[in-house]
């Protein structure tokens, strides 16, 4: 049975409400209001994890989101498991299970701990230096490194929770609800600003709610009591919204902030279901007030990482707020007055404080005098030189500091203690300020970086702006707030404040020991095990930039991003290299401030909402007829239609044969359709396509190729002249939106004089493409009135007709090489049209085919697919499509680029056909092509772009791009594969019906 370290009298802990939870498999009890950290401390559990590199035992160090050590896995082996959670932020609930990370087999006996014994061999850059050689061993090293590098386990099951996003627009956003934030929000809201106040904790008030009542007074009342009254008043202000348990993750330009609101993490399991777990708030604020406070700094001394070494204000918060004592024998180690406030708090609660070790030689402040009167022993000008105790702090050794602070003198004094509260001063939380683009300046007096230049309409107030005592904070807040909000007065202009001002300061970034530095372990980054020694080594090895030292030593690269130790790292670099801290600058503060779950980031965009699907009007028919689907852009297209358990290959062979032998039908609705109107429409087409358009007669269709200005093929499709000044352009399925965008760009910016209007009509029409020798007979059944003779309705022409009194546009065009019609109908009639075609085609065994068969049929004809046979580096000449490039036109998009020296090279990759010597071998698309097998290094000539087994030719066919391929007709080439080499012959890419006889069959 572990000891109970509860001290009574905390108003924030509900002792009538007992909560049981498990830690590392063992059941413990805490109270409602506890965090996992406070509950563990109350149960005298200090060892909660192991460090990353040396696997040293580590305990709880803080009481907030800056925690580097107490990182746990919650609800392991469930679908709600989450790694890297800070025990100091987890509010306990009935049934919570948490476990230590980075320990194997368990936290008390950890095999990785052996790294601590061999640590002289694990200096900075160890991984870089050691595992680089020999390269072939990397796989073995990787296994070892990954296995020992425990950063928790990611969930393997689907997350059962719901996440949400919300946009918020406000006049004033206040981040942080300490005393500055509360007063700022209250006064903004009262002056008619729509205000949002955000704090990461579950209670408002920040550190003020447990501030010492004796030494911090407002209107003759303890500041902690005064602020509670203010918090109560907030509830009645109508245009103030308050969000607790909400952490601002990122502050971007233009006052755009992202915050994570935690809604159910503190609830019992049974109350979590069907509720939004976390919500990402996307906040656009006209004005931002940052009141993010300051983080207490630790001190860097030998073995400063043992469980039981805790930040001084955290010791105080655990005692005062949570009613938990962190130890039976408490000592403080400090360089400022704040430890005295903590000591006094403990003393007043009857918790024994044995000593205070202070590196300063004196302090005259009232609070120090008050501590002296309690009889607590104060060691002035002393420093801790070592600590002992493996799983828990047992004792410390202190020695007298020299005047320059570089060495220690005299004899070691040993003090027995199980809790050491360290106080190294304060680091303003300027993370969000710098994320927003703000520039910092260094304040030499207080050794802090402070906001200097604001990039947007924002201010920093309170301790994040370098004000550390109550009187100073409130006086400056009043002035800044009036100026920022342009108001005449605040409601706290005339309050009377009493607080202590600190007079004596001494800062030493790396405290000396009686041992040589090489024999000590003064940790700077606790989570990543980076010591002061590592930083000095990096500097000795020539690293100068703070960003490089950070990466080489991994300082500040843990999940806590070095919130505690980054300033010490800078200080040590500054001292060692002799560069002023202000000149050194800081490393970049990157979002998020605290980690975000993936769930919060994606919100509702999961499952079927992950990406938007577009479905054609015929989609239900495809589903009913068991189509397999393929994603093309955002479209779901029918891929093939297997029957009787056919494989894809079998289905495609059957569909392809049917389309050429009798009739096939394809849903072509997804092709992009752009309606072009205006008196300059013909001229416009002349400029955007490579071929000529002026002479195209009304009612005729033409294939067009569109280039980029660099001469590379961009898109293709058939365009129909519907009227004198009216065209309908089709584009590739994937290119539709981009083509419209590009055409609009040219119209608006280069040719505003052209009278042309573009409208996307892709979604307005559904298209059924009927092809094959019997397609004409099917059309005749559907549209009996239409004269289908070649004279009246020849290939590449268009007719406006009616089917069941519904207007349709029919084009006689072909992408398969067969006699073929494309019927366009208002999308809402698409399925009816499709079913009518199927019905009419029944006697001809009309066969629905999908994209795969379409690709095969066009490959037989050597027709390209933009994006499959081209990749943005192919000109029309490379594609052997010289015939479509007008020689007469003065200009079109990309024309000039076709005469650049590079595009005219003979050895460019060119489109050719390939036939395998063994007609049964089907090449792999993407396979590399070579001409010599014994070359070293072997020259890659190109690759296969399309490859199929043609049932109509009864052999394998392929399209490929090959360097200088145009002149290789009949040449043997090789395709080396993993297990064999395939020999092929270069052929004409038109494999089937070279004379186009079937179009008019």
């Amino acid at each position: 049975m572990s000891a109970n370290l509860r001290v009574k009298s905390s108003e924030y802990i509900d002792e009538t409400h007992r909560v049981s939870f498990k830690f590392n498999g063992k059941t413990y009890y805490g109270f409602k209001g506890d965090t996992l950290a406070s509950a563990l401390l109350a149960n005298d559990v200090h060892l909660v994890g192991r460090s990353f590199k040396y696997h040293r035992p580590r305990g709880i160090m803080t009481a907030g989101s800056e925690e580097p050590n107490a990182i746990v896995q919650v609800n392991d082996n469930t679908n709600r498991t989450e790694p890297n959670v800070r025990a100091t932020e987890v509010e306990i609930y009935e049934g919570l299970e948490a476990s230590s990370q980075n320990c194997w087999p368990n936290v008390n006996f950890d095999i990785g701990g052996i790294n601590n014994l061999i640590s002289p061999f694990l200096p900075a850059g160890f991984y870089y230096k050691t595992f680089m050689w020999p390269a072939s061993f990397w796989e073995k090293y990787e296994f070892f490194i990954r296995h020992s590098a425990g950063l928790g386990k990611s969930p393997t099951e689907k997350d059962p929770d719901i996440y949400d996003h919300r946009n918020i627009h406000c006049d004033v956003l206040v981040v942080g609800a300490g005393i500055s934030g509360i007063l700022a929000a209250k006064n903004a809201a009262k002056n008619n600003f729509k205000t949002l106040l955000i704090d990461e904790k579950n209670e408002l008030g920040g550190a003020t709610i447990y501030q010492d009542k004796e030494f911090n007074k407002i209107n003759n009342q303890g500041s902690s009591d005064w602020i509670k009254k203010e918090i109560n008043e907030l509830k009645n202000i109508s245009n103030l919204e308050i969000k607790t348990r909400t952490s601002v993750a990122a502050y971007h330009g233009y006052n755009y902030l992202l915050a994570r609101e935690n809604l159910t993490d503190h609830l019992e399991k049974k109350n979590k279901n069907n509720k939004v777990r976390q919500r990402l708030l996307k906040i656009r604020a006209k004005k931002v007030i940052l009141a993010t406070g300051a983080l207490e700094r630790p001190l860097v001394f030998n073995n400063n990482d043992r469980p039981g070494i805790i930040l001084s204000t955290a010791v105080k918060k655990y005692a005062d707020y949570f009613g938990v004592k962190c130890g039976e024998k408490n000592v403080f180690f400090t360089n400022n007055d704040s430890a005295y406030e903590s000591a006094l708090c403990l003393h007043n609660k009857g918790i024994k404080v044995d000593a205070i070790v202070d590196i300063r030689d004196n302090s005259n402040s009232k609070i120090v005098k008050a501590v002296e009167q309690t009889g607590i022993k104060i060691y002035w000008s002393h420093t801790v030189v070592d600590t002992n105790g493996y799983r828990r702090l047992d004792n410390i050794s202190i020695m007298r500091l020299s005047n320059d602070g570089m060495t220690v003198t005299g004899k070691r004094i040993n003090i027995s203690c199980d809790c050491l509260g360290v106080a190294g001063g304060w680091t303003p939380a300027v993370h969000l300020f710098t994320q927003s683009g703000g520039k910092l300046k260094f304040d030499e007096d207080n050794n802090v970086f402070l906001p200097n230049k604001y990039p947007s309409d924002q201010i920093s107030v309170g301790s994040c702006n370098g004000n550390f005592n109550l009187k100073e904070i409130i006086n400056e807040l009043s002035i800044k707030l009036k100026e920022f909000l342009k108001i005449d007065q605040t409601d706290f202009d005339n309050i009377a404040i009493e607080s202590e001002e600190e007079t004596s300061k001494r800062n030493i970034w790396l405290l000396p020991s009686d041992k040589a530095i090489g024999k000590t372990k003064p940790f700077v980054d606790y989570q990543n095990d980076a010591t002061a020694k590592d930083i000095k080594l990096a500097l000795r090895e020539g690293f100068r930039s703070i960003e490089h030292v950070k990466r080489y030593t991994t300082t500040g690269m843990g999940t806590d991003q070095g919130k505690l130790g980054n300033m010490h790292a800078l200080g040590i670099i500054s001292d060692t290299a002799g560069v002023k801290m202000g000149e050194l600058g800081t490393t970049t503060f990157r979002p998020p401030y605290t980690p975000l779950t993936f769930g919060t980031i994606v919100g509702r965009s999961v499952g079927e909402f992950f990406d938007i699907f577009r479905r054609t009007a015929m989609n239900h028919w495809h589903i009913e007829n068991k189509a397999e689907f393929e994603n093309v852009g955002q479209w779901k297209r029918g891929w093939y239609y297997p029957i009787n358990g056919e494989t894809m290959h079998q289905a495609v062979q059957r569909e392809s044969k049917a389309a050429r032998e009798s009739a096939g039908i394809l849903d072509a609705s997804t092709l992009g359709k752009i309606d072009i109107q205006g008196s300059d429409a013909s001229e416009f087409l002349n400029r955007v396509y490579t071929n000529a358009w002026s002479k195209l007669a009304i009612g005729k269709c033409r294939y067009g190729l569109m280039l980029n200005e660099d001469g590379m093929v961009y898109d293709d499709g058939v365009t129909t002249r519907l009227g004198e000044n009216h065209y309908l352009m089709t584009t590739t399925t994937g290119g539709a939106a981009n083509v419209l965008g590009k055409l609009e760009d040219y119209l608006q910016t280069e040719w505003p004089e052209l009278d042309v209007y573009l409208t996307s009509v892709t979604d307005h029409y559904a298209t059924a493409s009927v092809c094959g020798p019997n397609s004409k007979k099917i059309l005749k059944k559907i549209i009996p009135d239409l004269d289908l003779s070649d004279e009246n309705f020849p290939h590449m022409s268009f007719k406006e007709v009616k089917i069941n009194n519904i207007k349709c546009r029919v084009m006689r065009i072909s992408f398969t090489g067969e006699h073929s019609y494309e019927i366009n109908i208002q999308a809402s009639f698409g399925k009816a049209l499709w079913e009518k075609c199927i019905e009419a085609g029944k006697e001809f065994n009309i066969t629905p085919y999908g994209t795969e068969t379409m690709h095969l049929l066009r490959a037989e004809k050597g027709f390209i697919i933009v994006g499959q046979d081209t990749d943005g580096t192919m000109t029309p000449i490379d594609l052997q499509m010289d015939w479509i490039v007008s020689k007469k036109k003065y200009d079109f998009i990309g024309k000039r680029s076709l005469y650049r020296s590079d595009t005219m090279r003979e050895d460019r990759k060119q489109l050719v056909g390939l036939l395998t010597d063994d007609p049964n071998i089907i090449l792999e698309e993407g396979a590399q092509i070579v001409s010599e097998l014994k070359q070293n290094p072997i020259q890659m000539l190109g690759h296969v772009t399309s490859s199929y087994f043609s049932p109509n030719l009864n052999k394998s066919i392929a399209l490929a791009v090959v360097r200088g391929g145009k002149d290789m007709m009949g040449k043997k080439l090789f395709i080396p594969m993993e297990d064999k080499t395939i020999s092929v012959t270069v052929a004409n890419p038109v494999f089937f019906d070279e004379e186009n006889k079937r179009l008019n069959a």
Binding site: G253, E744, T749, D891, K895, R896
Partner: protein, 91 residues
């Protein structure tokens, strides 16, 4: 994320817009008269300034209009937006 003042629609979130690169590079009227170097200058060369830059933007998910923007790329401050065809400010 910027707030962009579309000259046709007013202030909208950056998500609705698409950036279109450097502004005021006119497509040559007579490309065939140009040498390879001159054409390459038009086709490939862009200034990519750290500081005040003239840019093209498109209100792609709004009015679909292209317009010009003067933006300081070092701090993302948008100094001005103006319509296509309007003269750029001198400084």
């Amino acid at each position: 994320m910027f707030v962009i003042n579309c000259p046709y629609c007013g202030e909208r979130d950056q998500q609705e817009f698409k950036a279109g690169g450097e502004a005021h590079i006119e497509r040559p009227k007579q490309p065939t008269e140009l040498s390879d170097d001159e054409w390459a200058e038009y086709l490939f060369m862009r200034k990519n300034i750290k500081g005040v830059q003239f840019e093209r933007w498109n209100h792609a998910h709004g009015c679909r209009k292209w317009f010009n923007m003067v933006r300081d790329t070092s701090n993302d401050e948008i100094k001005l937006v103006y319509k296509m065809g309007e003269k750029p400010p001198l400084e």
